[in-house]
Amino acid sequence: MVEVTDRPDTQVPPAEVPDVHPPHAHSWLSRWVFSQDAKYIAIQYSGTAIAIGLVALVLSWLMRLQLGFPDLVSFSPEAYYQFITMHGMIMVVYLLTAIFLGGFGNYLIPLMVGARDMVFPFVNMLSYWIYLLAVLVLVASFFVPGGPTGAGWTLYPPQAILSGTPGGRDAGIILMLLSLILFIIGFTMGGLNYAVTVLQGRTRGMTLMRMPLTIWGIFTATVMALLAFPALFVACVMLLFDRLLGTSFFMPTLVEMGQRLEYGGGSPIVFQHLFWFFGHPEVYIVALPAFGIVSDLISVHARKNIFGYRMMVWAIIGIGALSFVVWAHHMYVSGMHPYFGFFFATTTLIIAVPTAIKVYNWILTLWRGDIHLTLPMLFSIAFIVTFVNGGLTGLFLGNVVVDVPLSDTMFVVAHFHMVMGLAPLMVIFGAIYHWYPKITGRMLNHRMGLIHFWVTFVGAYAIFFPMHYIGLAGVPRRYSELGDTPYLTASVAGLNAFITIAALVVGAVQIMFLFNLLWSARHGQRAGGNPWRAASLEWQTPDTPPRHGNWSDELPVVYRWAYDYSVPGAPEDFIAQNDPWPARPVQP
């Protein structure tokens, strides 16, 4: 046996600090509204994220209707650009980032590291309420004169704050920027909490190299977010100043519709650097928690230890670090100095190596496993397919010269939907099927789950795989209409209609999934404390759902890593992390 599953008894240090109990709720309000319990905050975060995510989903239908059936549905270009902007921003920031870190982070970190709660419960609560405020400000922008901004989710100046763009001279862009600023403030509060809890709140015996990969993924993503969001923060503040106070951080001398504006001397490219210094790590802020979670899902449902645990940890850290030096691969044709291309293409393709290692290790975990095709496992498999597909098209776009014809076409749209839209969503679905029994005590309905899985997997692939070829044919992204471009055969229209139908079906089945979430909370089959027979700590809580404070009077003591499945000679096919087998428990 390798040392990662080190012998138990010697490895448990004595308690260094006394056990601290999190604050108790004294009233209805502090229990059910202003709760300081990370588990409850997690539900609040996830519920809000899903609610606003539904808006983004509906917007995607509207866009697809316009693209697929331009004769029947035709929104104004203003509306179309508002749809793509709000759809993109909501999906990336307000749904995926919030649900992975605010949702899964809050729920899982304390439970999986054996803590009673986050280390700063009050700040944690504050984080949620500021996030909610950010969402409300975002929603408000739909109702102001001029509507929300239509600048694209990248918000590139100068157009973001000029009159040729919807919301540019109205309130739309201002509310967008304010909302992002609020989001970042709220996230920072939560993020500090997650990081400190992982570093300081682990129970006895939970060494860093025994943490489940879920925690490694969420932790690394959190640290990255704490470093990356400040770049977006300053970019938003400066853009707001340009818009409101007439500064020219990003605004050169320019003439708009024959009218010379007051601006002068700023650089639009600087905004792009700031944006992507945040924006690229953001991709991994969403991806790393997904990597971590899917590792655990695969291991549990294949009844096998994750293959190459240490390599997996180092790959997460390596990807996290490298992703800070690749941002300008989004700017190959931005007009920045062309020699940057050499550097950024090289760093970008280097990231492919640790990423590929992760894929190999997931599949090698399946190798000689005992694969149970549960819903979490099915979604994990779907994740691998979509992630590999989207990751490989990243090699096109990262390889500077190949990006030149593809950049800003529908190929890019297809690529990033595969890799950061579908792949993380598959993990979110798998994770919800996996942890729902812990959160509610009941299983999600299996039949609805199967329908959800098949339609989502097959349908989503049918949406986004063919879309690459539309881009290859030369259709630019963010085109509200194709016009009658001669070289684009009429058949692009046919393919677009097909994609739209697939998108509507995939969208509809998500509504069924949400229904399942509500329905099963009451009518689902009772799950018991550990229905998947999993080894990590959250499944070993004395109650399900876990009570306030998570554990009984004694905190759990950890003797092993989270992946002791099918260990030869063990009485069962898993050994819980707090099970001292075969040695005797250490004395407290």
């Binding site: 390798v2 990662v4 599953t5 270009p77 239509g150 694209g152 590139y156 100068p158 000029l162 040729g164 763009t165 050169p252 320019l254 003439v255 708009e256 010379r260 700023g266 650089s267 639009p268 490219i269 009844r303 096998k304 230890n305 190459g308 645990y309 390599m311 044709v333 931005s334 062309p338 293409a345 090289t346 393709l349 190596v353 590929a356 894929v359 599949i363 090698l364 496993g369 694969i371 597909n389 090699l395 096109f396 390889n399 010269v401 190949v402 030149v404 014809p405 950049s407 800003d408 070829y469 044919a473 030369g474 630019p476 509200s480 194709l482 471009t485 070289y487 058949s491 692009v492 099918s566």
Partner: protein, 269 residues
């Protein structure tokens, strides 16, 4: 074993789609066949990897599916296997990166004999400028821009006087001659993109960007703006006419120079 069938179908379906797809790039009309070649190499490498990974996964799912009495193997690490896979991956990546960087070097190195043409964008139309007999573009400044001087040229610059100005009309270029496109925008970001040329580049207000290419066949090619520039983005189209040298010269003679343009506009009412 529906999943296994599904995984195999995903691979087979994707490969068939790729091979049979009528949706493919339009025939090339520039010297950037290298880009197409690099793209094809990348398609091959990534396609093989995709098929291998997904089929191998399908095999695992089928072979190691749960059956009563089955137990998984306990197998935490395998140094040699992990190192081997890392090395193979690194080699595959290098095989794509190396040609990519070589072609990029080519892409960013403008040949000395390239003619210069200026592309000038505003919301939402394309204009162009070509040097006159002196072979040089005059200086320009947006602060000089008005209705009689649509591109903001410097009236005191002698190199500007004979510059040919093509305002919101088609660009004509001779076939077979390398051209350096210098790009200027008055208002917001735009992107000069002609799918048949494969090359594209953003136009950024406040700075001058460039790229180069050599047209390799005659014909009419559509310019699409490829950087979101406001509500007219999707209709910001234009045309490039690639012509034989003689036809091109004939067209060029019919165009107005900056000096002529100023004369006619100051003579007007």
């Amino acid at each position: 074993m529906v999943v296994v069938v599904a995984l195999v179908s995903v691979v087979v379906g994707s490969v068939l789609f790729h091979l049979l797809s009528p949706w493919w790039w339009p025939p090339i009309a520039s010297n950037w066949g290298y880009i197409d070649a690099t793209l094809i190499i990348t398609f091959w490498i990534t396609g093989i990897v995709f098929a291998t990974v997904v089929l191998f996964m399908a095999y695992c799912v089928w072979r190691f599916r749960h059956r009563p009495g089955r137990t998984a193997e306990f197998d935490p690490e395998n140094r040699r296997l992990e190192t081997g896979l890392t090395v193979v991956t690194a080699l595959g990546v290098a095989a794509m990166l190396a040609p990519g960087l070589i072609v990029w070097k080519h892409f960013v190195t403008v040949p000395d004999d390239a003619a210069t043409v200026e592309v000038f964008a505003q919301q939402w139309s394309w204009s162009f400028r070509m040097p006159g007999a002196d072979g040089r573009l005059g200086t320009a400044d947006l602060r000089l821009l008005d209705s009689g001087n649509p591109l903001g040229l410097n009236p005191y610059d002698r190199f500007a006087q004979d510059d040919v100005i093509v305002e919101a009309a088609d660009l004509h270029l001779p076939v077979g001659r390398p051209v350096k496109m210098v790009l200027r925008s008055v208002d917001v970001l735009h992107d000069f993109y002609v799918p048949e040329f494969r090359a594209k580049m953003d136009l950024v207000p406040g700075m001058v960007t460039y790229f180069w290419f050599t047209p390799t066949r005659t014909g009419e090619f559509e310019i699409l703006c490829a950087e979101l520039c406001g509500i007219g983005h999707a209709v910001m189209r234009g045309y490039v006419q690639i012509q034989e040298e003689a036809d091109f010269q004939a067209w060029l003679q019919g165009q107005q120079t900056f000096a002529q343009l100023r004369e006619s506009s100051s003579a007007g009412p």
